[in-house]
Symmetry: C2
Subunit: 350 residues, 2 copies
């Protein structure tokens, strides 16, 4: 039970050598120190329970061996959302491989300046930005800095922007082709608008599927949710009233966020809409929640753990100044067919 921290100089004194010698031995540097002396030092270190001080080490080497993570989202988005758990699991295992720790920047969501200052304080060697709603000011501000940054699940238009994401365009394409194959011809599309990169990409995927099936683009009824709108009851009401006001009535819905899709399928029966009979639903960001819901949600799955791990790899390449040829690494998506999309249209409406 050491009551005070053991420093390297304590080890050196106990071994009867200078601190420099102790440093050489403990760091395995070949400075011609005879095995006998080395043993003395190592023994003293073990007996005293010496642990190198991470702070001092970071100061002198300029490397903290930490990577920062910023959750640039309202807290309520992640407490009951497996998206973040999965990404974090991937990030963690990636960090373990490279022997890095994770610095979770805790800051109130809208106060990006506090986060900005924190990231520039040098407490980590680089930063991962996770923010599905990051049409914010933090990302561009950070990219104008010399701090290595990798964005997860989004990107912005900036020459220094590195990112890891899934193939959003293909995901939306798969979702729509699935619905088209089931016989649907009128679609609702819920997304956050073009300000978020994946919003734009998924929109393009939707258009491609419609185009390929020679369907007119006005078969797509777009509902753009306000960026600041939490997936709350109030939001669900406005989303449902949109669904019911649109003519011709859509028979299928693609909702770009799992949390919102879950709330929707929970509330739609109360509004007289049966899923999938009256409305087929396909969601994004498939996690175990989609599988458990009733009806279970057909949705686009992306390899969140791999994405998290790949983001760490990319960030560490940037930190250690290796060449990173790809600005954005994309992972393939896949369609998980479950109940909410139904088995096809028996009596298509007009």
């Amino acid at each position: 039970m050491p009551s005070r921290r053991v420093r390297m100089i304590d080890v050196a004194q106990a071994a009867g050598v200078s601190r420099t010698t102790a440093s050489f031995v403990l760091n395995g540097r070949d400075a011609g120190i005879p095995p006998e002396t080395q043993q003395r030092v190592l023994l003293a270190a073990r007996q005293l329970g010496y642990r190198p001080n991470a702070t001092a080490l970071a100061l002198v080497t300029g490397r903290t061996h930490r990577i920062g993570i910023v959750l640039n989202e309202p807290e309520s988005f992640r407490a009951n959302d497996l998206y973040f758990s999965n990404v974090l699991a991937g990030v963690t295992s990636g960090a373990v491989c490279h022997n890095y720790n994770l610095l979770l920047h805790s800051a109130h969501y809208p106060d990006w300046q506090a986060l900005y200052a924190d990231i520039l304080s040098g407490a980590s060697d680089g930063t991962l930005l996770i923010g599905r709603y990051a049409s914010d000011q933090l990302t561009p501000a950070l990219l104008d800095t010399d701090v290595p940054v990798v964005c997860i699940s989004y990107q912005i238009d900036h020459p220094r922007c590195y990112a890891v994401d899934c193939d959003n365009e293909e995901g939306a394409y798969l979702a729509f082709r699935h619905l088209i194959d089931l016989g649907h011809r009128q679609f609702a599309f819920f997304y956050p608008g073009h300000s978020v990169s994946w919003g734009c990409e998924r929109y393009l995927g939707a258009l491609r599927a419609l185009d390929e099936a020679s369907l007119p683009s006005d078969a797509l009824h777009v509902y753009e949710w306000p960026e600041t709108a939490l997936p709350s009851l109030k939001w669900v009401h406005s989303a449902i009233s949109f669904l019911q006001s649109v003519r011709p009535r859509p028979t299928a819905l693609v909702c770009c966020e799992e949390a919102r899709a879950l709330h929707l399928v929970e509330r739609l029966p109360g509004a007289g809409v049966r899923v999938p009979d009256d409305l087929a639903v396909v969601s994004f960001n498939s996690t175990e929640l989609s599988a458990l819901a009733r009806p279970s949600l057909t949705s686009i799955w992306q390899p969140l753990k791999e994405i998290g791990a790949a983001a760490v790899d990319m960030l560490i390449d940037l930190i250690e100044e290796r060449d990173v040829p790809q600005r954005c690494r994309r992972f393939p998506v896949s369609l998980h067919v479950r109940e909410s999309s139904g088995t096809g249209m028996e009596s298509p409406r007009t």
Copy 2:
């Protein structure tokens, strides 16, 4: 776009003062520095974009303003588990209040020695241990150190062990009384054994409920799962075969972990057991997953966010050497009745 880091001495030189003066001004120390000089320094700091270096500050003050978090569990436990997300959300908001960041110790689960070294490296001011299966070697080893530590959701028998948990005994009591009120008389109890504090506590709660209803203690059929058993398919098989081998056959099950309960109710129909008709199920650690499952799980809820935030409060009290009277802070639990416990016994078996 500063290509190199701006240090305090750069600010001082730009303002034409010594570094000491700059330090006084920037830290708001009253050293009789006239307002005019102060303005010069502040202006220079703003123009150069000065940010204090967190590492150097930590070295000289001895405070990192970081709290460590150790997830002393296999990774697979948390990727698809809302328990951790909720606790972490609470920890984050607690940390924000105190202006602390979070250092997520990433290490392979069984390798506690690496974690131990990491925690003692002084990269954080104190550590939160989260480990529902922490009958491990890390916790006692850390408690023999002068590093402040708070355990979340468990505790061990050690004079320096501080912890935040829910009222496990009461939780189990509520679960069993609910089932007893529904008419059940033969029970299965799935738990990890007495090696984990909440296992022991919940067991005692079960006994209290039985005792209060004047039921014999052999009405409780205890299944103790191996600590290292993941809630996998293999585990589910052995759990189900236990259920089917016990005589008299239990009509109700209390399973101490949500993830296992979810897997069970998914597989029980395949084994010819209907939930809740043949077997009423009550689970612990209620999250949104319990609400979404089919049948939805009746379960004991605990305020995970509050627990996380309270653990931060307690840890920071320890770090700043304030008096912490309570060794273990307990939060109340509540029973959330859903479908899996049924509406009562119509035809109780013998």
